[in-house]
């Protein structure tokens, strides 16, 4: 079976202006949302706080739970039905570090007080102090930064520097885009989501490298072929592979998103968005950057001489 005909020749390079406008609009939309909401919505890993997952034996709703917890006067309490079957809820509270210790116990007691003992099960409890949260956040940001530096070095070594610039811009594009979409969807960013970002960085690069590899191979093969034409031919030649690999990867991530359960849903969502945009960026961002870089250098040389 073949989806992509061997002699396919789509003018990807010609649409680079349109692609850049599209990317900018989407990233700007995300950034506007980020600014409007005062930064990304951090999960308790980064913001500090307490998260409790409780399963009730009887049907109940968020309002009843809120009522049961009202006497505790918790700061920033949110009650949210958890994905999956049964009456499972996710409670979050933002409290200062001193009040955090033992908070989960107080919450369970209050719930047992109004629902009856043995009527609920504490499935998961996470408490992160504000100091630890700040540190985890810094480490997460550093991780993404170091991964990019490592990749920049490797790609500069294997290819040329301009390829590395293109690859890094594509990665920034992907991560910014995903952070923006997360903000638009009002999803939380926590440790697993940062892990997903690094997964995206790895995947998107994988895709970019394969196109670059073909560009390098095709450069100088046909005499007097212009650089834009080389790039376009390379993208077309690898298109079948790009679609097949992205397709299988998206399939498995979709399986993870649907069947993986609530605990890793945000993680799977980040991967899903990131892999789609990563595929797009290796065609529409990473390759055009090579062209712009070339034009920019030519202009500078022209201006000098």
């Amino acid at each position: 079976m073949q989806i992509i005909k061997p002699d396919i020749n789509i003018d990807f390079v010609g649409k680079k202006g349109l692609a850049i406008v599209l990317s900018l609009v989407l990233i700007l939309a995300g950034l506007v949302s980020l600014v409007a909401k005062g930064g990304p919505r951090y999960g308790i890993d980064f913001a500090g706080g307490t998260l409790i997952q409780v399963k009730f034996n009887q049907p109940t709703d968020a309002a009843t739970i809120r009522g049961a917890l009202a006497p505790l006067n918790l700061r920033g309490l949110t009650v949210q039905r958890f994905e999956g079957e049964g009456d499972e809820f996710l409670l979050r509270a933002q409290e200062s570090s001193a009040a955090l210790e033992g908070l989960s116990h107080r919450i369970t007691e209050a719930l047992e007080g109004s629902f009856g003992e043995g009527q609920l099960e504490l499935r998961r409890m996470e408490m992160v102090g504000p100091q630890a949260g700040r540190e985890l956040r810094n480490r997460g940001l550093l991780a993404v930064l170091y991964a990019m530096i490592g990749i920049l070095i490797y790609v500069s070594w294997r290819f040329k520097f301009r390829f590395a610039v293109g690859a890094i811009l594509a990665l920034l594009h992907d991560v910014l885009f995903t952070v923006g979409i997360f903000s638009l969807l009002n999803k939380e960013i926590d440790l697993p989501v940062i892990a997903a970002f690094l997964g995206i960085v790895g995947y998107s690069l994988n895709d970019t490298i394969i196109v670059y590899d073909r560009i390098r191979e095709n450069t100088g093969k046909i005499e007097k072929e212009s650089f834009p034409s080389v790039i376009n031919r390379s993208i077309n030649e690898t298109l079948s592979r790009t679609i097949m690999t992205s397709g299988t990867t998206l399939l498995v991530v979709l399986a993870l998103l649907i069947f993986g359960g609530g605990v890793i849903q945000n993680f799977a969502l980040a991967l899903f968005i990131g892999i789609m945009v990563g595929t797009y960026s290796s065609v529409f961002v990473a390759s055009p950057v090579l062209l712009y870089w070339d034009e920019y250098r030519a202009r500078r040389r022209g201006a000098k001489g």
């Binding site: 033992g102 409890m125 498995v252």
Partner: protein
């Protein structure tokens, strides 16, 4: 068969055999002989899958410095007195400084000389004159401060290890992290709240004399004479379970500390059927206790644990046996935990819970189930897609994919790596990405076939041309995974582990194994048309 194929087949068969040996204890643990299970561990599950507790404790090491300066203050007061150097007071300033206030310049000079000879750790700071008195400050040298801090953390790790051992868990983890952090992992812990309480207890036991002449009520309003402090005595009403706090004033000076305890046990007082803790001092402690009780017969001595007075009995007679009792208000469980903490030793500085993640066993089971479902469904989808798209060659890629799963799990077990929920997600992601190498090769082969190459030549060219691309593409993902491994903690690290192992094993199966299958088929059969 050619020699090369036999050799390569042998390598694959050997790897497969090793993988099956390693995986058997995970999947069929009941039917294996003991030596087998001893040689290969089953795959180790993370806390998020098997349930348990993950704690990050922060040691407040600066408190250890403060208490060192405090004890220096006491020591200096006594020594200055014995040298007849009259000073108004000696006090601690901030974390690592102390200030001596004297009446005359001359005294300060003498103290200065004596200190520099006997206490080289104390660095003199600028002096000052305040309404007639001469004050001089000394700072603990930064090297000494660093040593105290790092010793405090090291000692805290030891003490916590002793306490954790009392839980009787199968594989507790206790690690120092960075400068002042301690990571504690308690898989399968039954009562998380109790565990936190027991680990977080400083368990600093002090004996202090009660200042009888001070009215505690006055003191509670702020009228505290110098050299004394206000503490609260804890009283438990056994019937209602309510805890009452009554103020009590004691002298600052600690006459004896819990460091000198050799053993602590819970006993039940048969008269009231109440628990108490019986303490045995070591030789040095017994001697001190003997001297102190002898010198203070008729006075009350407060038994202070972590700044709470548990009881303040009257000393009726000199106690020479080297043992003492803490009676007082605690439930049986509290008494048991106190005894554990006293036996394990006190923490040199208080610890604070910075992170606490607890997963119940039922959620862990659900996560395993959901993870497995995703792996199976994701895997089937990929297998189907490959078979549809690449026909018979797709089946070869699928064989490589299945082997990849086997090797990935086997490597997890051989490396004794921990499988977490994000780790399972990493396996799922690997399933999708692992076929990439085969896709790259097949697309190349298709190109070469279109260019009119023979099957044999097309396969050769496909593999050799795609190889470098595959390496380049995988190494970059590998870099990202390595960074993640370095920075991630707990569950997230599991993602990095499966992702990087998955990359390595997929290179082996997708390139090496699939090539072997093609070569084998080409040698056996006359292949005119490759179904790809």
């Amino acid at each position: 068969m050619s020699k090369s194929i036999v050799m390569r087949g042998g390598v694959v068969a050997g790897c497969l055999l090793l993988a099956l040996l390693a995986l058997a204890p995970t999947f069929v643990p009941d039917r294996l002989p003991a030596w087998w299970k001893k040689a290969f561990d089953p795959i180790h599950l993370g806390l998020d899958l098997q349930g348990g507790m993950h704690l990050v404790l922060g040691v407040e090491a600066e408190k250890a410095v403060e208490s060192r300066v405090d004890s220096l203050v006491g020591q200096l007061e006594a020594e200055l007195q014995s040298r007849e150097l009259v000073v108004r007071r000696v006090e601690r300033i901030g974390e690592s400084q102390l200030k001596i206030v004297a009446y005359e310049e001359d005294t300060v000079r003498q103290i200065d000389e004596w200190l520099s000879a006997n206490y080289p750790d104390l660095e003199p700071q600028a002096g000052e004159t305040v309404d007639g008195a001469v004050a001089k400050s000394y700072r603990l040298s930064s090297r000494t401060v660093e040593t105290i801090k790092s010793n405090a953390v090291r000692q805290a790790v030891e003490t916590l290890r002793n306490r954790v051992d009392q839980f009787g868990l199968s594989e507790p983890v206790l690690q120092r992290q960075g400068e002042d952090r301690i990571l504690v992992q308690l898989p399968g812990v039954k009562d998380p709240k109790r565990a936190v309480a027991l680990l977080g207890k400083t368990a600093r036991l002090e004996f202090k004399l009660v200042a009888e002449q001070v009215d505690p009520m006055e003191a509670a309003r702020g009228m505290l004479p110098p050299g004394t402090q206000l503490l609260y005595e804890r009283q438990l009403n056994r019937r209602s379970g309510a805890v009452a706090q009554t103020p009590i004033v004691v002298y600052d000076q600690t006459v004896l500390t819990g460091d000198l305890i050799a053993d602590a046990q819970v006993r039940i007082d048969p008269r009231f059927n109440e628990p108490y803790i019986s303490l045995d001092f070591n030789a040095l402690g017994a001697k001190s206790f003997d001297r102190i009780t002898g010198a203070n017969v008729g006075r009350r001595m407060a038994i202070v644990l972590d700044d709470t007075v548990y009881s303040a009995p009257v000393i009726r007679e000199r106690i020479s046996g080297g043992s003492a009792q803490i009676t007082g208000s605690f439930s049986e469980q509290e008494a048991a935990d106190l005894a554990i903490a006293l036996r394990a030793g006190s923490l040199p500085a208080p610890v604070k819970v910075l992170e606490d993640r607890t997963v119940g066993p039922s959620l862990g089971m659900d996560s395993i189930k959901q993870g497995m479902t995703s792996v199976i469904i994701g895997g089937l989808l990929v297998v189907l897609a490959m078979a549809l798209y690449y026909n018979v060659s797709g089946l070869v890629a699928n064989l490589a994919l299945v082997l990849n799963m086997v090797f990935l799990l086997a490597l997890l077990s051989l490396f004794k790596a921990t499988l977490t929920l994000p780790g399972i997600a990493g396996i799922v992601l690997t399933l999708g990405m692992a076929v990439d190498a085969n896709v790259l090769i097949y697309e190349r082969i298709r190109e070469e076939l279109r260019n009119g190459m023979s099957v044999r030549a097309a396969i050769d060219a496909g593999y050799s041309k795609a190889f470098l691309t595959i390496i380049d593409a995988n190494i970059t993902t590998f870099i990202a995974a390595l960074v993640l491994f370095q920075f991630g903690t707990g569950p997230v690290k599991g993602f990095a582990v499966t992702l990087s192992i998955g990359i390595a094993s997929s290179l082996f199966t997708a390139v090496f194994v699939s090539r072997l299958v093609f070569d084998l088929v080409l040698e056996r059969f006359q292949v005119k048309r490759l179904r790809i």
